[in-house]
Structures are given as structure tokens and as C-alpha cells.
Amino acid sequence: MTSGSEPNQADICRAADEFRSRTLSKIPRLLDRLIYLASMRDYNTGLYYHDGLAAQFSEDVACETLAGCHREVFHQLLLCPLREIVDQLEGYIRSARTPPADFVSLWNGIEPYRVVVPVRTDPLASDLFFSNLRVALAIVGARLNGRCPGTRVGASPQPSPAR
């Protein structure tokens, strides 16, 4: 990234273990982890930044570590059943500061989930991921409108924790 030399694999493994145990494990849902990891990436360069990891290892190692964790979390979420994705989305909406109806409307409109996919993801995998989120949003939206057959209203407005 900055030095131009290949980062050491052993360092990347150590950094990834540390990042998983200290940071990712504190984030309860895969969807939240994915959004968090995507937010560590510079949209213009595609490189990831993390001051703590960079200080402890190097910027290159931090970047590779976050990229690897991002791919890993994306893959885990991709393989989740739709039911789980809906649960995760409802959980994420509950933790957001936005009213659920506004959230669903905004996500349907500008599809911000499109930027959380790791670089060089296979188009079929991205397509499946987007499609699952689109359907999950439709299900959550229908629940909010009380249109779902015999299901609870999962995304009811609740006071959100400080994020």
C-alpha cells in the first residue's frame, strides 16, 4: 500500500486474530460488521485504514487484514438464510436512529448496501447479496405496514442505543 513491499502473512494472521477478538466480536450482527468494515475503506482508493492496527503492525498489514475480514464477513452473510438476513436487518434498523419506515424507504431508494461489498467480489455473489437485501427490505416494509400474514412487527420504533 505505502511501502510497496508485500505485507508479511504471519503479521496479517496475528492482526486478523486480534481484530476479530477485540473489535469484530463486540459487534453482534454480521450485517453491522459488514457495514463497519466497509466504512473503513476509502471509496476512492479501495484501501482500508485502521490507526490502531497500523500503529501496531503497519499500514499495509492493517489494510490486508481489514480486506480479509471484510471478505470473510461478506461470505458469511451471503450464505445466511433469508430468515436470518431479515432478522439482522431488523436488528440493524432497531439500532439506527432513524424511524424504521424512513429507513426502509431510504434503503429502497438509494440502496446504500451496494457500497458494502468487498472489492473484486464475484458479480453473482454481489447479485445474490443485493437481491437478498432487497427482498429482506420488502419483508420488513410489509411488516411495518402490517401486511405480513401472522408475523410479528419486528422493526417497531424503539429508543436506539448511542452508536
Binding site: 451471503l78 438464510p81 447479485d127 437481491s131 420488502a138 400474514p149
Partner: protein, 193 residues
């Protein structure tokens, strides 16, 4: 007048045929490009299209059951439409990669002197079955949705994996370890000289 038009049409047809033949002839079969394409096709099949968990997720029946039980009709329609599109795209890409592998094997068999006839015939049959199965799958998914032929998907994946195994063996000499050993050999030869 009519004779003149017919002559012009025949002439244009011949010119077009000549152009098509000339274009086809510019791409040597079994060359480096074919090797690279075959390796790319194998990688794409192995890592992106064939992993069982990915295939299982695309054609997951539990997702359909969940949507049927938990969502209104318009969402069920949206779900089926989305999964159908993805399933068609999956079949289309698998077919595309199989065609690339077939092209590679065809080029290889034309330039390879010591062919094992039985193995080549079996491979040809596998390719033919696969391409036919992909077409049938495309039609079934298009007409009846992604859940129309679950067994056929499993069978198709099985044959693609078999063909991938054969192709992998044919391309083994391109592996980095082999390349490294070749490098070592050539370095040794150079040193010997």
C-alpha cells in the same frame, strides 16, 4: 434485373463467408490464450460458481418456504423473480465456462499426438451432456422458476466437477510449483552449460 440482384446477393454472401472464415482463422486454437482462458474458467467454476454452499443458497428451498409463510404475495413474487434471475445467471455462467473448457480440450486434442481414445470419448460425452443439461436447466428455470429441477442441478454440478478435475489435470503443468521446478531445471541446465 432479377438475375443481377441474385448475383449481387450471392456475391455479398460469399464475401461475408470469406470474412467470417478469415476472422475465425486469426485465433490459433490451443495457444497460450486458450490455456489462460481455461485456467480462468476453472478458477471461476471452482471458487465462484460451484462451491456447494453457494449453489445451495441460490436454490435454497427454505428461503422460499420462509417467504411463503412470512411475506405478502407481492413480496413472494419479487423473491421468485429475483431468484429466477440469479439462477438463470448462474446456469448461463456455468455454461459459458464449460464452453471455454471444451474449446481448450478441443484445441489440445487437435495438437496432442498421444491421445487416449476412450478417455477423450468419455470427456466429449461429458461435455455434450453438460451443455445439453445446462440448456434444459435454462429452459426449466425460465419456464417454471428456480425450484423446478433440484436434482438436475445436483447432477449438473457433479458432471461439471468431474470435467473440472480432468481439465485441472490437463493444466497441471501450469501450476506454480511445476513452473518453479521447470525454472529450477532450466537454471540447472544453464548452470551446467
Amino acid at each position: 434485373m432479377i438475375q443481377l440482384i441474385i448475383s449481387i446477393l450471392v456475391g455479398a454472401g460469399l464475401l461475408f463467408l470469406l470474412y467470417a472464415l478469415a476472422r475465425k482463422g486469426t485465433k490459433p486454437e490451443g495457444g497460450a490464450q486458450a490455456l489462460i482462458e481455461a485456467r480462468q474458467a476453472l478458477n471461476e467454476l471452482k471458487h465462484d460458481l460451484l462451491p456447494h454452499e453457494v449453489v445451495a443458497r441460490i436454490f435454497a428451498k427454505d428461503d422460499l418456504d420462509y417467504v411463503l409463510s412470512a411475506a405478502p404475495e407481492d413480496v413472494v413474487r419479487l423473491f421468485l423473480q429475483q431468484r429466477k434471475r440469479i439462477a438463470l445467471s448462474w446456469v448461463d455462467r456455468v455454461r459459458g465456462q464449460v464452453v471455454r473448457l471444451k474449446r481448450f480440450h478441443l484445441g489440445r486434442s487437435r495438437s496432442y499426438a498421444r491421445l487416449r481414445l476412450r478417455a477423450e470419448i468419455a470427456l466429449t460425452m461429458d461435455f455434450a451432456t453438460l451443455l445439453f443439461a445446462c440448456r434444459v436447466l435454462q429452459i426449466l428455470v425460465f419456464l417454471r422458476g428456480p425450484y423446478a429441477a433440484p436434482q438436475m442441478i445436483g447432477t449438473t454440478v457433479g458432471i461439471v466437477e468431474k470435467v473440472c478435475g480432468v481439465s485441472e489435470a490437463s493444466l497441471a503443468f501450469l501450476d506454480s510449483t511445476n513452473t518453479a521446478s521447470l525454472d529450477g531445471q532450466s537454471a540447472g541446465t544453464v548452470a551446467g552449460v
